[in-house]
C-alpha cells in the first residue's frame, strides 16, 4: 500500500470532494475536515509503525513525472521527516476539531486547510527537488488565502506581506535546485545527498541561496519581520499551522538541503550560521519581552526557539566528533517537534482566550485563573514548557543543543541567556493575565468546553511525555542522525 501517497493526497481529495458535494453546509464541511484529518493521522501512525531504516530513506514510493529532465514523483521518510510528519498530521487533526466553530464560508476554509495539509506532508516526504519545491510553494498560496480570508483586523496587509516576503524568500531555493540539477542531471534528492554534486564556489553560492530561503521560513534574524504580522492577523488554526508546521519547513530544509547537499560549504560557513542562530535566539527572547500583545509575544518566542534549532544544526556541521554531532542533531530535531507541540498549544489557548474576550492585550486581563482554571492551568503548564523547564518538552531538546554547543563553540553558549529572558516574560504574562486582581469585565467568562479540552489535552499529555520520557521520540530520530550522510 502506498501509504505515504495516500496520506499526502487524502486531504486534498477530501477538499475536492467537498467542492463537488451538493450539500456544503458548515456542518458537513467541518465533519469532512475532522474525518479526513483523523484518517490521515491514523495513516501516519501506521507509517510510523512501519518504521525507518538507518542510513537512508525508507518506505520509498516512486512514479515517473517529467522524465525528460529527471524529475519524478518520489516520496520517502527518515528519522528527520517522520517525527515532523506525525506532528503535522496531529496538529491538522486538532486544528480541524478546533475550527469546527467557524461558520463564515466554512467549506472554503476547510478546503484551504486540507490543501495546506497535503502541502505540508508533501514537503516533509518529498525526495525529489522539484516536487519538494512544488509542495513548499503550494503551502504559501494556502496560507495566504487563509490569512487574507479569515484573519483579524489588518489581515489583508499581513497576508500580502507574508506572500510576497516568503515568495521572494523561496525563489533563491529554486535557483539552488536548478544548480544542483544541472550539475547532477537528476532531481533525485537521494543522489544529491549521497554525492553532493556541487563543490567550491558553486556550492557556496547554492548554500547562500538556500540559507536565504530557509532563514526567511524559519524565520531567523534579520529576515523574520513577516512573522509577527502574519501570526497576529492569522486565524487561530492558521497560527497553529504556521508556527507548528510551516516554520519547520525552514529548519527541515536547513538540515535536508543546506547541510546534507552542500556539507563542505555549510561547515565553512558554520560559525556564521551559528551566529545567526545565537542572535535569533537572543533577539527573539528580548523582542518577546517587549510585547504586550500575547499573540505577538508567542510569535517572537518562536524566533527564539527556532534560533536554538539553527544553533544545533550549525554545531553539528562544525564539530568533528561524531557523538557530539549526533547529540546536536538529535536536539535540533527534537526541538522542532517540541516547538510544534508547545507553541501549537499556546496559540490554541490564546485563540480560545480571544474567542471569549476579543482582546489579546495582556494588560486588559487579570486574575483569570480562578475564573477559567482549565484555560489558566493549561496556559501555565505550556508557558513553563516553552521556557524550558525540566520535565517538559523543550528541556531535553535544548539541553542537547546546549551540550553540543558548549563542547564545540563555547562562545555561543551566551544564547542560554535567552532562557532567563523567556522565563521572565512568561512569568510576567502569567502574572498579568491569570493572577492578581480580577478584572470585572471578564466575570462571565466560560471555561474550556468539551471540544476545546479535546484539542488541548493531547498536547498537554505529549508535552509532559516528551519531557519526562523522551526516549521513544529520540530513538526514532537518533537512528537516522547517527548515520546521517553529509
Amino acid at each position: 500500500m502506498p501509504l505515504l501517497t495516500l496520506a499526502t493526497f487524502l486531504p486534498i481529495l477530501g477538499g475536492l470532494a467537498l467542492i463537488v458535494l451538493p450539500n456544503r453546509s458548515a456542518r458537513v464541511a467541518h465533519g469532512m475536515s475532522i474525518a479526513v484529518t483523523g484518517v490521515v493521522f491514523m495513516l501516519t501512525l501506521v507509517i510510523w509503525s512501519r518504521g525507518t531504516i538507518a542510513g537512508g530513506f525508507a518506505q520509498i514510493e516512486e512514479l515517473a513525472w517529467i522524465p525528460a529532465i529527471g524529475a519524478a514523483y518520489r516520496l520517502g521518510l527518515d528519522g528527520l521527516s517522520l517525527p515532523l510528519v506525525l506532528l503535522t498530521s496531529l496538529l491538522f487533526f486538532l486544528s480541524a476539531i478546533y475550527s469546527a466553530r467557524i461558520s463564515d464560508r466554512a467549506p472554503s476554509y476547510v478546503v484551504l486547510m486540507l490543501m495546506l495539509e497535503t502541502a505540508a506532508l508533501g514537503t516533509f516526504m518529498a525526495l525529489d527537488g522539484l516536487l519538494f519545491y512544488v509542495f513548499f510553494e503550494v503551502s504559501l498560496v494556502g496560507m495566504y488565502f487563509m490569512i487574507a480570508g479569515w484573519g483579524y483586523e489588518d489581515r489583508q496587509r499581513a497576508a500580502l506581506m507574508f506572500f510576497i516576503y516568503t515568495l521572494l524568500g523561496s525563489l533563491p531555493l529554486l535557483l539552488a535546485i536548478i544548480g544542483l540539477y544541472l550539475s547532477s542531471g537528476t532531481f533525485d534528492m537521494r543522489v544529491w545527498i549521497d554525492m553532493p554534486p556541487l563543490t567550491g564556489i558553486a556550492a557556496m553560492l547554492a548554500l547562500i541561496a538556500m540559507l536565504f530561503t530557509f532563514a526567511v521560513k524559519i524565520p531567523a534574524f534579520p529576515v523574520h519581520t513577516w512573522l509577527p504580522a502574519a501570526h497576529v492577523q492569522a486565524p487561530t488554526a492558521g497560527s497553529v499551522i504556521l508556527a507548528g508546521v510551516m516554520l519547520k519547513f525552514g529548519t527541515y530544509g536547513l538540515v535536508r538541503f543546506a547541510l546534507q547537499m552542500t556539507p563542505e560549504a555549510f561547515a565553512q560557513a558554520g560559525q556564521v550560521i551559528l551566529a545567526v542562530g545565537v542572535v535569533s535566539a537572543l533577539y527573539g527572547a528580548f523582542a518577546a519581552l517587549a510585547q504586550s500583545d500575547l499573540k505577538k509575544m508567542i510569535a517572537y518566542t518562536s524566533i527564539n526557539h527556532m534560533g536554538y534549532v539553527v544553533m544545533g544544526v550549525a554545531v553539528a556541521a562544525l564539530t568533528v566528533d561524531l557523538r557530539i554531532r549526533t547529540i546536536a542533531l538529535d536536539g535540533a530535531t527534537l526541538q522542532m517537534v517540541s516547538h510544534g507541540l508547545v507553541t501549537g498549544a499556546l496559540f490554541f489557548l490564546l485563540g480560545m482566550l480571544q474567542d471569549r474576550a476579543h482582546s489579546r492585550d495582556m494588560s486588559e486581563f487579570g486574575g483569570l485563573l480562578g475564573r477559567v482554571p482549565w484555560l489558566g492551568w493549561s496556559f501555565i503548564l505550556m508557558a513553563f514548557a516553552s521556557l524550558g523547564l525540566p520535565g517538559l518538552a523543550h528541556f531535553p531538546a535544548e539541553f542537547q543543543v546546549f551540550l553540543a554547543t558548549l563542547n564545540t563553540a563555547p562562545w555561543a553558549i551566551i544564547a542560554i541567556l535567552a532562557i532567563v529572558v523567556t522565563a521572565g516574560l512568561y512569568l510576567r504574562a502569567i502574572a498579568a493575565v491569570f493572577l492578581g486582581s480580577e478584572n470585572e469585565k471578564w466575570l462571565e467568562m466560560r471555561d474550556l468546553d468539551r471540544r476545546e479540552k479535546l484539542v488541548i489535552v493531547p498536547l498537554l499529555i505529549l508535552t509532559v511525555l516528551v519531557g519526562v520520557a523522551p526516549s521513544w521520540l529520540i530513538n526514532m530520530i537518533h537512528t537516522t542522525m547517527e548515520s546521517l550522510s553529509f
Partner: protein, 454 residues
C-alpha cells in the same frame, strides 16, 4: 511536389477553411462560418499529429516541418479554436461576425508560416499576413478607441515591417541566399549579422510586444474587443517567438545575439511588470503583464544554442501561456474591464473566482500549475547556457508578477459593492466551455508535463 504538399496539409486545410468561411459570410451565415472554422482547426490539429516527429523541410528548404513548427501547430490551432469561441460569445449577432472568424483563421495561417519559416521570404510573408488581418480585427468595433488603436497598430507595424525587410536584405547580400540555414556563412563577419539581427528584433519584437517595440499593445488590446485582445496577445505573440527561434538558431553565435536578446528579455520582463503595477484598467494590466511574459519566452531564445531544454521550454511555456492567458481574458469578459469590477467577484461567483486565481497564479509561475513547469524549463535552460544573471532577474521578476496579479486577486475576495444587474447574467455557454478547458489544461498539465516533448 506531392511530398511537399502532404506535409502542408494542416496549412492547406486551414486556408481552405478560411475561404469557405468567407463564402459562408457572404451568405450571411456567421454560425456556419464558425462551424467551418472549428472543424477546420480540429482537422488540421489532428493531421499535425502524425508528422510531429518529422524533421525535414519542404519547398527547397524554405519551410520547416520540425519540432518547433509541429508543436506550434498543436498549440496555435487549438488556441485559435478557443479564441473563436470567445469571439462568438462577445459579438454574436453583430454585423460582419463571419468576417471576423475568417480573418482570425487567416491570421493563424500567417502565424503558422512564422513558426515554420525557414527562409527570409516566408518570414516576411508571415509578418505581413498576421499583420494585415490583425489590423482589421482590432478595428472591428468601429468606434474611436478601436480606430485609434488599429491606426497605431498599423503605423507601428508598417514602420517596423519595412525596417525589418530593409535589414534582412543585408543578410541576403551577405550570403547570397534567403535561407536561414545559409546564415552560418556569416560566421566571423562584422556588421552584416548585426544589421540583420537588429532588423529581426525590430520586426518580430514588435509582433511579440518586446520592449521597446510594445507601445501599440496596451492600446490595441484595450481598443479591440476583449476576445480579440486575447487572441492577439496569445497567437500572434507566440508565432513571433517561434519565428525568433527559427531564425536565431541558425545565426552564428559570434554575432553576439544571445547577449542582445538577454538584455531585451531583462528589460521587457521588468518594464512590463513595473508598468502593470500601476494600471487600473484590467485589460491594460493583463496587456502589460503579457508584455512581461514575452520577456520570459526570450529566456528560451537566449539559450537556443547552448541548452537542449530551450526548445522544449518554449513549447511548454507556449502551451501553458495559451491556456492561462486565454482563460484570464475569458474571465475578464465575464467580470468587466475595470479593476473595480473585480471587487467581490470571487464571492459573487465562487467557481469563476477559483478559476481566475488558478490562471493568475499560473501566470505568476506558482507550482504545480502549468506555467511553473514552463518557467522551470526556461530558467534551467538559461542557467545551463551561462546566463545565470538573466535567470536571477527572471526569478526576481516573479515576485513583481505576484504583486501584479495579487492586485486582481485581493479585491476579488473583498466584500462586494452593490451588485449591478449585468453581473447576475449567466455567461455565454461558449465562454464557460473555454474557461473550463483552459482551467483543466492549466491545472492538469502541471502534473502531466512529462508527456510534452523531450
Amino acid at each position: 511536389m506531392e511530398r511537399d504538399l502532404s506535409f502542408l496539409i494542416p496549412e492547406l486545410l486551414l486556408s481552405s477553411a478560411a475561404m469557405l468561411m468567407i463564402v459562408a459570410e457572404m451568405m450571411r451565415a456567421a454560425r456556419l462560418a464558425l462551424v467551418i472554422g472549428l472543424v477546420g482547426l480540429a482537422a488540421a490539429t489532428l493531421l499535425t499529429l502524425p508528422m510531429l516527429h518529422a524533421d525535414t523541410t519542404v519547398f527547397s528548404g524554405t519551410y520547416r516541418i520540425d519540432l518547433i513548427s509541429g508543436w506550434a501547430k498543436l498549440i496555435l490551432l487549438p488556441g485559435t479554436a478557443l479564441a473563436l469561441l470567445m469571439v462568438r460569445a462577445e459579438i454574436t449577432g453583430q454585423d460582419r461576425e463571419g468576417s471576423v472568424y475568417a480573418l482570425i483563421c487567416l491570421v493563424t495561417l500567417g502565424a503558422l508560416m512564422l513558426a515554420g519559416g525557414g527562409d527570409i521570404m516566408v518570414l516576411v510573408l508571415g509578418v505581413v499576413l498576421t499583420g494585415l488581418g490583425s489590423f482589421a480585427l482590432v478595428a472591428f468595433p468601429r468606434d474611436d478607441a478601436a480606430t485609434e488603436a488599429a491606426m497605431k497598430y498599423l503605423v507601428f507595424g508598417a514602420v517596423t515591417g519595412s525596417v525589418m525587410i530593409y535589414g534582412l536584405t543585408f543578410w541576403f547580400g551577405g550570403v547570397g541566399s534567403t535561407l536561414f540555414s545559409a546564415l552560418g556563412a556569416l560566421d566571423g563577419r562584422p556588421l552584416v549579422p548585426t544589421v540583420g539581427l537588429v532588423a529581426v528584433i525590430i520586426g518580430l519584437g514588435y509582433k511579440a510586444a518586446l520592449v521597446p517595440f510594445h507601445f501599440w499593445a496596451p492600446d490595441a488590446y484595450d481598443g479591440a474587443p476583449v476576445s480579440i485582445a486575447a487572441y492577439l496577445s496569445v497567437i500572434t505573440k507566440l508565432a513571433a517567438i517561434f519565428a525568433f527561434a527559427q531564425v536565431l538558431r541558425d545565426l552564428p553565435l559570434s554575432s553576439g545575439w544571445p547577449l542582445v536578446i538577454a538584455v531585451v528579455s531583462a528589460v521587457t520582463m521588468t518594464y512590463g511588470y513595473l508598468t502593470a503595477l500601476v494600471q487600473t484598467n484590467l485589460v491594460r494590466l493583463i496587456a502589460y503583464s503579457s508584455i512581461a511574459q514575452s520577456g520570459y519566452f526570450m529566456l528560451g531564445i537566449v539559450a537556443l544554442g547552448a541548452s537542449s531544454l530551450a526548445v522544449p521550454g518554449l513549447i511548454v511555456l507556449g502551451a501553458a501561456y495559451v491556456a492561462m492567458n486565454l482563460g484570464a481574458f475569458a474571465v475578464v469578459m465575464i467580470s468587466g474591464r475595470s479593476l473595480n469590477d473585480m471587487r467581490g467577484f470571487g464571492r459573487r461567483r465562487p467557481v469563476m473566482g477559483i478559476v481566475m486565481v488558478i490562471f493568475l497564479l499560473s501566470l505568476t509561475g506558482i507550482p504545480p500549475l502549468f506555467g511553473f513547469v514552463g518557467k522551470v524549463y526556461l530558467f534551467t535552460a538559461a542557467i545551463e547556457s551561462g546566463f545565470v544573471w538573466l535567470a536571477v532577474i527572471g526569478i526576481l521578476n516573479s515576485v513583481l508578477a505576484l504583486g501584479v496579479y495579487l492586485r486582481i486577486i485581493v479585491p476579488m475576495y473583498q466584500p462586494a459593492q452593490d451588485i449591478d444587474e449585468s453581473s447576475e447574467k449567466s455567461p455565454h455557454p461558449a465562454l464557460v466551455a473555454v474557461i473550463g478547458i483552459t482551467a483543466l489544461v492549466t491545472l492538469g498539465m502541471g502534473f502531466l508535463a512529462g508527456f510534452l516533448p523531450a
